[in-house]
């Protein structure tokens, strides 16, 4: 019980670390995922192939392996070094973007055919159709899966803690190495994650309600 009060600063730092990492990689993953989904429905075969390869590769690779890759293999290719936080950000957003891409793509499939046809008959280009007609509607349908994806991202960010990035799990590790009772640590850290995940699902429910349209 006292662990929380005595080490409040550490817990706060860890909590903020987790929130910050989650928010930053969510935004990046969303952008990347939407671009990739755009690739996957584009009329240009190499881009479609690139999108498909990206999704297949990153959805079937364990996240821990990706962490190892950016820690040990990527520096062999690019000279400029990243700090651990940026590395974690890149790994988490690349990994999550493949899930976002799949969600958005299935969302695109739910947009009624007539919408795109109407847009085309008005003379819109591919980008105009996608950007102004199809994607805004697709985003609405994929909000529930997106919320699950970002909740998963929050939980995955714990792996970054094992790779010496300051966040909640990292602090749990440090404190439990110092011999604090694991049960209390576990509970407090779990509570921290619960707060974040409930916030995410609440936010998404609000978004869903405000974006709801009659079809």
């Amino acid at each position: 019980m006292n662990v929380l009060l005595d080490h409040f600063a550490e817990f706060r730092e860890g909590f903020i670390g987790t929130v910050w990492l989650t928010v930053a990689s969510s935004v990046l993953a969303l952008i990347l995922g939407v671009v990739l989904a755009g690739f996957r429905v584009s009329p240009v075969p190499p881009l479609r192939f690139f999108g498909a390869a990206w999704v297949t590769l990153f959805r079937n690779t364990p996240l821990t392996l990706l962490f190892l890759t950016i820690w040990f293999a990527v520096p062999q290719v690019f000279d400029f070094g990243f700090d651990p936080w940026t590395k974690a950000l890149i790994v988490l957003s690349v990994y999550t973007s493949s899930f976002v891409c799949e969600a958005v793509r299935s969302g695109i499939n739910t947009v009624p055919l007539g919408q795109a046809e109407a847009a085309r008959s008005l003379g819109m280009t591919f980008f105009q159709t996608l950007g102004t007609i199809v994607l805004p509607q697709a985003v609405r349908t994929v909000l529930p899966p997106l919320s699950s994806i970002f909740i998963a991202l929050t939980k995955n960010s714990a792996i970054a803690g094992a790779f010496s990035v300051t966040e909640l799990f990292g602090w749990q590790k440090v404190l439990s190495d110092q011999g604090f009772a694991i049960a209390w640590l576990f509970l407090w850290v779990a509570l921290g994650y619960l707060v974040i995940t409930f916030t995410i699902s609440g936010l998404f429910r609000l978004l869903e309600r405000s974006l709801e349209v009659a079809r």
Binding site: V44, P45, P144, I151, I159, L185, L194
Partner: protein, 322 residues
């Protein structure tokens, strides 16, 4: 295909433009790949001496043992998670409020906590209270990993099965009760088999997640494939550098192959289920999301609604739904 919706069949001008984009895209992608390969080759990661290490028996044995350990953890954790998932799903549908609440609480708690933290906490717990718990030998890591994976994935599988229960038409349950079947009979003869059948693709997708998550054993220094690979790379010095790059390439390929084989099974099962004309709905496979995926119980539009739609679609000719 959605792609054809978004653009017209290209005319001569658009075809030309697409061809130009294709060339640029191909060049860009090949350029990127070439750049990566060149850089790696520059650093000597493709030297024959480096790759020769894979010819040594002990290296091969290390990788083989890693694969076996990973598969062992996966088999046990997967089986346990299925059993636990079924139990939790049944408990959640119980008529007794206390049981229902306990099951719901268990599911919600362990789905919300990062799996890594569950595993780590179990590991520390086992290490700390080793003698009290009657553990002998060095299998703390194994059990922490297996139990952690089973608990987390069991909670997720329970939610999947719940969606499956909801997809069974209400009338069937009423009919079963009207015929005089007991509650347990309705569950075992009617609900569970149909739920498992309709949710099989999703269940397998979640097993893929379980397989991927065995790699968390790396963090609690349990010697599964990833940890074995790291040890291997860390201790083998060839041409003055550790062989991280080749080892990551090999191990990554192994992981991707294993996961794709399992995903392939899910797709096959889904296709097979769609072909069957039993009238049992096959819910669309959810994303094998790292976590609940599309299976958030808190959202009413989740798999339940999806499964219901699929159930509604079931009496349509199979070709139409999709």
């Amino acid at each position: 295909m959605s792609s054809s919706v978004l653009y017209d069949a290209p005319g001569p001008k658009a075809r030309m433009r697409n061809r130009i984009y294709s060339v640029i895209g191909t060049v860009a992608i090949i350029g990127l790949i070439t750049f990566v390969i060149m850089r790696l080759a520059d650093r000597g990661h493709f030297a024959s001496e480096v790759w020769n290490t894979f010819n040594y028996a002990n290296v091969r044995i290390a990788i083989r043992d890693g694969i076996f350990t990973t598969l062992k953890v996966f088999a046990l954790a997967g089986a346990l998670s299925l059993v636990l998932g079924a139990l939790l799903a049944v408990a959640r549908a119980s008529d007794h409020r206390a049981i229902r609440w306990l099951a719901t609480g268990f599911i919600e708690l362990f789905r919300a906590i990062p799996l890594l933290i569950t595993i780590y906490a179990l590991w520390v717990l086992f290490l700390t209270y080793k003698s009290d718990l009657g553990f002998v030998g060095e299998n703390n890591g194994f059990w922490a990993l297996v139990i952690g994976l089973a608990v987390y994935n069991g909670a997720v599988q329970a939610e999947v099965l719940r969606a499956g229960f909801n997809a069974v038409p209400r009338g069937q349950v009423e009919a079963a009760y009207a015929l005089g079947l007991r509650k347990s009979q309705v569950m075992t003869m009617l609900l569970l088999p149909q739920a498992v059948r309709s949710m099989l693709p999703t269940i397998i997708s979640q097993l893929v997640v379980t397989l991927k998550d065995t790699s968390l054993g790396y963090i609690i220094t349990y010697a599964e494939l990833l940890y074995a690979a790291r040890q291997l790379a860390n201790t083998t010095l060839v041409n003055g550098q550790y062989i991280y790059v080749p080892v990551i390439m090999v191990v990554g390929t192994i992981y991707v192959a294993m996961c794709m084989a399992l995903s392939g099974l899910a797709t096959w099962v889904e296709k097979r289920g769609r072909r069957a004309k039993t009238g049992i709905a096959v819910a669309a496979a959810a994303e094998p999301a790292e976590a609940p995926g599309a299976l958030d119980p808190s959202d009413p539009k989740g798999p339940t609604a999806e499964a219901e739609q699929a159930a509604a679609k079931a009496d349509e000719p199979p070709g139409k739904s999709g």
